[in-house]
């Protein structure tokens, strides 16, 4: 039963990823695109966790944690770049 539920959840997450992708392409401004990227990586974490459950493997935890760390740093760096024109002050 759990396998079916996981596949269904992966379907829902794909719809969510497509919706964020729509916002990423449509824009209209840079902050919108950064926000879409931010959402995209959080949804990516969700997909990876679901895939790990589907394959019954504990290995995907590190990948999810790394994506969380990298995504946060890049979001803050790009937002900072928009505000000040440079990242490292």
């Amino acid at each position: 039963m759990l396998q079916t539920v996981i596949i269904f959840c992966l379907g829902i997450m794909s719809v969510a990823l497509i919706l964020t992708f729509v916002r990423l392409i449509k824009g209209p401004d840079l902050p919108d695109r950064i926000l879409a990227m931010d959402t995209l990586y959080i949804n990516g974490i969700a997909v990876i966790m679901l895939f790990g459950l589907y394959l019954d493997s504990n290995l995907f935890f590190e990948a999810a944690l790394l994506i969380a760390v990298m995504g946060f740093v890049s979001t803050v760096a790009i937002a900072k770049h928009l505000m000040r024109g440079n990242i490292i002050e």
Binding site: M1, D32, T39
Partner: protein, 112 residues
């Protein structure tokens, strides 16, 4: 109904709730009219969605191996700590860029 199937139902419910919340966050991202309103969707719904998914996965691996597997909590903790920070940075960047606001928004943002 045995005990393990009971746990399985809880896990399935958590996974469904989590992905539905993530979907709602993305719907908000597409549907809402201006940037500041869009900011609300991902910072809350998506964060809680991933949180619920992570708790479900934690329960699953704990039940499978028979001993508590808590390390997925780190992801939730990290997301809950960082979501307000990135929302704050994005809001500041948007105010700096003087993005278009919905005309009915009351109050004024500050000049950066």
């Amino acid at each position: 109904m045995s005990e393990s199937s009971w746990v399985e139902w809880v896990i399935a419910a958590l996974l469904l709730i989590g992905s539905l919340f993530a979907l709602i966050g993305s719907i908000g991202l597409v549907k809402l009219p201006d940037f500041f309103m869009r900011l609300h969707g991902p910072t809350k719904a998506t964060t809680l969605g991933v949180g619920a998914l992570v708790v479900g996965s934690m329960l699953y691996f704990s039940q499978k191996s028979g001993e508590p597997s808590l390390h997925e909590l780190l992801i939730t903790l990290f997301l809950f700590l960082t979501a307000p920070v990135s929302a704050h940075m994005l809001a500041k960047a948007a105010m700096h860029e003087k993005l278009r606001r919905e005309p009915r928004t009351r109050g004024e943002p500050w000049d950066q």
